[in-house]
């Protein structure tokens, strides 16, 4: 009984460690705000208000949380397979571009056909963007951290080229403004809005479902078992007859497809066109989100909500107390540092528990 209680206590404790780390980071932020000559109380009130203070705020938070969740799920899968996917940004961009291209250039005027196909196209594009590093890793042992980062640059410049050249909105040329963006997508490719006039759309539901699917895949199926086995011990996996390179590549491909889908949903559900900076740092913040959620697809759900809130609330904070946006980035960075440090702390604790029996 006591041991059960203790294990429950330990589990809860490990779960709230990231939360504690966040509070600690916010506490450190107090000093930064003081140094900037701002009122910390007012600032954090604005942050909270902006993130969770009203129905509207919560909806905004959920909208931001959706791509974070999808990227986070992808990062979970990759990490579990022992590979690190830093390529979320690029995968979002190509996912967005691919789904927009499909929506703009394939003349099938049916929602039921177009929306699934557009989303699949975005996943495929993301999968390719994750697959290139995956296959390079599998075949040649090239470090996937480097290649995924490089693929980000390629995606950014590809996007710059397409948005200024082949895919630019014809209106922009007519008007002479030449803003780097695509034309508005046809309406039949829009995801259904759940709470007009906000941009909340069915993509969020899809993301939540996929979190569940990823959880089942990772922990209840043999494919997920193999991915996790490869991630924990390549030697033992090889001995057990699991094709290690294949599952490493697969982990990156699946991770890439999730990020690609995030791009697709952002386009079909929120923006309805692709413009520059469509990825909006979701690719990097998604990594943090996944880490925050203990690299567990279901844990990533609340983590995405929290980070979405920080992104939205950060905007509000910035406007209300007039701090530079760098402050928000710094705050997010500190939270990341603290969360990662807390992870090490809780790993040590569990090791100690193991030693002490």
């Amino acid at each position: 009984m006591i041991s059960k209680l203790r294990s429950l206590f330990n589990k809860t404790f490990d779960a709230i460690i990231p939360l504690f780390a966040t509070l600690l980071a916010l506490f450190l932020g107090v000093f930064m705000l003081k140094a900037l000559g701002k009122d910390p109380l007012a600032a954090y009130a604005a942050l909270f208000e902006g993130a969770f203070g009203s129905q509207r705020a919560i909806i905004q938070t959920i909208i931001k949380a959706t791509p974070l969740l999808l990227v986070g799920i992808g990062v979970c899968i990759a990490f579990r397979g022992g590979v690190i996917n830093i390529g979320g940004e690029g995968q979002i961009i190509v996912g967005a571009l691919a789904s927009a291209a499909f929506a703009l250039y394939v003349p099938i005027q049916s929602r039921w056909i177009m929306i699934p196909l557009c989303l699949l196209t975005s996943m495929l594009a993301g999968a390719i963007w994750g697959g290139v590093p995956g296959i390079l890793k599998a075949k040649l042992g090239v470090n996937e951290i480097l290649t995924t980062v490089m693929m980000n640059s390629i995606a950014v410049y590809l996007s710059n080229f397409l948005l200024r050249g082949p895919m630019i909105d014809p209106h922009e040329i007519e008007m002479g403004t030449r803003a780097a963006q695509t034309a508005l997508l046809p309406e039949y490719t829009f995801l259904t809005r759940l709470a007009p006039p906000t941009q909340l759309n069915t993509g969020t539901i899809l993301a939540l479902i996929l979190a569940g699917v990823a959880f089942v895949m990772l922990f209840k199926t043999t494919i997920g078992y193999r991915i996790r086995a490869v991630g924990k011990s390549a030697d033992a996996s090889r001995y057990a007859g699991i094709k290690v390179p294949f599952y490493q590549a697969l982990a990156l491909i699946l991770g890439g497809s999730m990020a690609g889908l995030a791009g697709g949903i952002e386009v079909l559900g929120v923006q309805h066109r692709v413009m520059e900076n469509i990825s909006a740092n979701y690719g990097f913040n998604g990594i943090v989100t996944a880490l925050f959620g203990s690299l567990h697809p279901l844990g990533t759900i609340p983590a995405a909500f929290l980070f979405g809130g920080l992104m939205v609330g950060g905007n509000k904070l910035q406007r209300t107390v007039q701090v530079h946006s760098a402050f928000i980035d710094t705050l997010l960075g500190i939270i990341v540092l603290f969360v990662v440090a807390a992870k090490i702390f809780s790993t040590r604790r569990s090791k100690k528990r193991a030693i002490n029996g």
Partner: protein, 521 residues
């Protein structure tokens, strides 16, 4: 340059070390219960006990890694308290861990100097270190080249570096944690010579072990720990292995097994003129031919590094043979992948069990299904059936007496013996017709070893063909129906198990052909 290097303040020479009524409690475990231990200068004390008996905990308290809950440590009659290893080192205590603490891409002398203040700071004074180090080596007859890199050294040499490191830091009393576990028989002999030399030079040595032969051979006195208590401290005169084993395990232990008569069946595994390269493309196995029948255990004896590892890997599909054939039940499996060997009814207990045999961060059930996770009853259409997995795992865990709190325990939290029992449980539950067992009881305590041996014999009687690869001659002789000796990648000879003597096998392990070895006998 003068010898002005400051190392640690030299303390009084340790004439007598006593640990009195040491008690150490961890949550839920009484690791040491009023343990007493005493060692005098020039004495080799063996600390004997099974895994989990509290040997390491006791020594960690002596080395300042833990502090005792109660009890005293006395040096030359005066009480000392160690809060950290630095305190222990300053008092003249050194510890050689089972897993060496060396930096592999630094040289020997750089490793010795590591962490010490340089006399020419901020510059290194490796010349001075080297000179002093070589003095120590000469004194104790330790053969070491200071300029070599650690990664170039054999395990035995690395151990010598650890010893020199400890002596360099002024250690009077050396704690050696299972020092022979990683050594070949030859290296063990050399190592014992070094130990005797150090004892002659009035060093005190505490030798942690669970190998009875070695304890009897080297120690002056033996202290036995069981379940955290000291169950006796005896002078090493006229004590027998049986006595020690009984003290250690707490019940009479079978050191020799009654084997039922050999019931040889058809050939299960056949190896023909096999050549296997190592990672650098040099053939480590050169023309091995073997036939193993069902119902038979074929022991493969040999000094480590003579091709056993490569042979085992080739036989299980983890390493490609460059020439020759392997037949499993008459089917050519030379080029088969590991899972095809599994499917064909072959199991493999890998030599490096913690690396290849299990996934430390997986729980027991997940490890149990490692090879067969994609087969019924564990999964169907890629979806796991956790009820079946739990049931089968529980059955195997019970059948093989794996000690664990529950099935959801991470395997990294199991002791070495229990990990090996789990692997054995997994491999034998698959009802293999052929088993390749590489070093199945290395680093496993007597109780668990005995258990593993009995299970292997039981499977032999049921018709399994076993290739037992071991460096432990006692193990080979106790279990094998036939013994093949490998030297330099070749089979020197195959002899009948019951008639083989240690001397003969020893000669063959050194490469002397069978006929000659028999004549010398």
């Amino acid at each position: 340059m003068a010898e002005k290097r400051i190392t640690y303040p030299k303390s009084d020479h340790i004439k007598k070390l006593q640990m009195i009524d040491i008690t150490k409690r961890f949550p839920g475990v009484l690791a040491n219960d009023r343990v007493n231990l005493e060692v005098n200068e020039g004495e080799i004390l063996a600390l004997l006990g099974e895994n989990g008996a509290g040997k390491s905990t006791l020594m960690k308290q002596l080395y300042g890694l833990y502090t005792p809950d109660s009890g005293q440590i006395l040096i030359n009659g005066k009480e000392v308290v160690f809060h950290s290893p630095t305190d222990a080192i300053n008092a003249g205590i050194g510890m050689i861990h089972q897993h060496f603490m060396l930096v592999s891409n630094l040289t020997v002398v750089e490793n010795v100097a590591l962490g010490l203040k340089s006399s020419r700071a901020p510059f290194l004074d490796l010349k001075v270190v080297e000179r002093r180090m070589m003095d120590i080596c000469d004194t104790y007859n330790l053969k070491l080249d200071p300029k070599r890199y650690i990664w170039e050294l054999a395990v035995g040499e690395q151990q010598r570096v650890e010893i020199v490191k400890a002596l360099y830091r002024g250690a009077d009393l050396l704690i050696l944690d299972e020092p022979t576990a990683v050594l070949t028989p030859q290296e063990v002999d050399e190592f014992f010579v070094i130990l005797k030399k150090m004892a002659e030079a009035m060093h005190s040595l505490i030798f942690i072990s669970h190998k009875l032969n070695e304890v009897i051979e080297i120690s002056d006195r033996v202290t036995v720990l069981r379940d955290g208590c000291s169950v006796g401290s005896v002078k090493n005169e006229n004590i027998t292995k049986t006595d020690l084993a009984e003290k250690m395990v707490g019940r009479p232990v079978v050191l020799q097994y009654d084997r039922s008569p050999l019931n040889r069946r058809e050939v299960r595994l056949k190896v023909e003129d096999l050549y296997v390269p190592n990672d650098w493309d040099e053939d480590k196995v050169c023309g091995v031919s073997l036939e193993i029948h069902g119902g038979e255990i074929l022991g493969l004896a040999g000094v480590s590094g003579n091709g056993q590892r490569e042979l085992a890997q080739a036989l299980s599909g983890l390493r490609a043979a460059s020439k020759g054939k392997i037949y499993l039940d008459g089917v050519d499996v030379t080029k088969a992948a590991p899972y095809e060997h599994n499917l064909a009814g072959q199991s493999y207990i890998p030599e490096e069990r913690n690396k290849e045999g299990i996934i430390k961060d997986f729980v027991i059930t997940e490890n149990f299904i490692l090879e067969d996770h994609d087969k019924e009853p564990y999964s169907k259409n890629s979806i796991f059936n956790f009820k079946n997995i739990d049931r089968e795992t529980q059955r195997a865990v019970d059948a093989f007496a794996v000690k664990t709190p529950n099935l959801k325990t991470m395997v990294k939290n199991l002791s070495g013996g229990n990990v090996q029992k789990l692997i054995l449980a997994r491999e034998l539950s698959r009802k293999p017709r052929v088993l390749i067992a590489a070093q199945p009881t290395r680093g496993v305590d007597i109780g668990a070893s005995e258990y593993i041996h009995l299970r292997l014999l039981e499977q032999r009687d049921l018709g399994m063909a076993t290739l037992l690869i071991s460096e432990d001659l006692d193990e080979i002789r106790a279990l094998s129906d036939r013994i093949a000796v490998i030297f330099d990648g070749r089979i020197v000879g195959i002899v009948d198990g019951p008639s083989a003597t240690s001397e003969m096998l020893g000669l063959m392990m050194a490469g002397v052909p069978l006929e000659e070895a028999q004549q010398k006998k």
